[in-house]
Point group: C2
Chain length 245, copies 2
């Protein structure tokens, strides 16, 4: 229930070395002595990334400004730029951390589990993410809307591989008659779409549902509905006799 903090994003990228052209070595990677990176540095970087998440997720990359991010992070623009070399770099860091987080729930789907249990808990995990990390969801959506310029590669490689793998599992279940036969890819798409909708289109959901039944109640309604939609939609005809509530 309590939104556990996402794994800290910071890892290296020491403050911009300003001493001469020291760090200017265009060796692409500069792993020569990553310099431990003090606790304060990590904290500040996290504050910046947190603020950047807030701003990027609302306005997209181009619509966000460094000043705005700096203000939300509670520091001056030059100070922020002391910790990150550029706006792009902040975004990059945010995106690569996000991708890991975003793929995790699907990775957990196990071939040796019960199909319905696996799918149900996958849906629930995704729905929880939409509830607990709406900004991450919007950040992702913003990137997608723009054609995913910064992550298209990872999408086309890592994500595709993962989905291929899970689609195979789903197909296996269908072959065994444990699952109604449909397109496993579009099945996954529909889980993504329906769950993330509650984060990305939150305003609309709120406005349409009105005041009553907010927060947790809303979430439970959505969870119950989606469960109904997917499970009964996927129940193979042979097992249909089951009369659940």
């Amino acid at each position: 229930m309590a939104p556990k903090k996402l794994k800290s994003v910071a890892q290296d990228a020491a403050p911009a070395q300003r001493t001469g052209a020291a760090a200017a070595k265009p060796t692409k990677q500069t792993p020569a002595k990553p310099r431990p990176l003090t606790r304060i540095q990590r904290e500040k970087q996290d504050m910046i990334l947190e603020a950047a998440l807030e701003v990027f997720s609302m306005h997209g990359f181009r619509g966000a400004t460094i000043d705005q991010i700096a203000e939300v992070a509670g520091m001056s623009k030059p100070n922020l730029l002391y910790y990150f070399p550029s706006k792009e770099e902040i975004h990059r860091r945010l995106m690569s951390a996000l991708l890991v987080t975003w793929l995790a729930p699907l990775e957990e789907m196990r071939a040796d589990g019960d199909p319905f249990v696996e799918i149900r808990s996958y849906i629930r995990r995704k729905l929880e993410m939409a509830r607990d990390f709406p900004r991450e969801s919007r950040l992702f959506a913003n990137e997608m809307l723009r054609g995913a310029p910064h992550i298209i590669d990872m999408i086309a490689v890592d994500l595709k591989a993962l989905v291929d793998e899970k689609a195979e599992i789903l197909l296996g279940w269908m072959d065994e008659g444990k699952l109604s036969r449909t397109d496993p890819y579009h099945l996954i798409f529909s889980i993504w779409a329906t769950t993330q909708h509650y984060a990305d289109f939150d305003v609309q959901v709120r406005a349409v549902l009105g005041k009553g039944r907010d927060g947790e109640g809303r979430f439970e309604d959505a969870a119950r509905y989606l469960e109904h939609l997917f499970l009964f939609g996927l129940t193979p005809k042979t097992k249909v006799g089951k009369d659940a509530d």
Copy 2:
């Protein structure tokens, strides 16, 4: 199949009267003599709106620039500003036209039709819109992601009213036992989510599905899958015996 042009958006807003403070009357509306608006003016305005749709739908309001819109529209920035007083106004026009278009498919859902036929064709209409008007879908999504600052009122009033009405219809069908009993609001949300996903997350869908099966095939797969998902998920237990396909 051929994406029929959306209704022309232009309606009034004559070229910015520059003669003195003529049009400066801050009376909010300036309907005093709308001036017929020549064919050429309407064409130019449409070109601008078309270009603006292209740009706004990719970069969001803040991320889009007038220069960019002007370039896409094939004219200079001041020339564009001759037809529209400001960037905001262009966006406003685009949004209000969009809302009408966006609500239309749901309005067609009739209480006196067959539930499954009605829902099926609603899904198909929405899916066709995602295919034929992806930019409109993304424009809408972009606005939602930012909290819908420009259309929250219409969402909370007109859209809500429409959804309330249709939810009532769905509830009626459920009462009559023609539809499995679930939350009608979340049902509508899930239709929106699953169909618009194909426009908004097109890059991802493409990347995951890979080269093969693009365009029409893709669309048909999605349509077939969604039909399966929703219809079987909504089939009341009493009618379940039907062994399709």
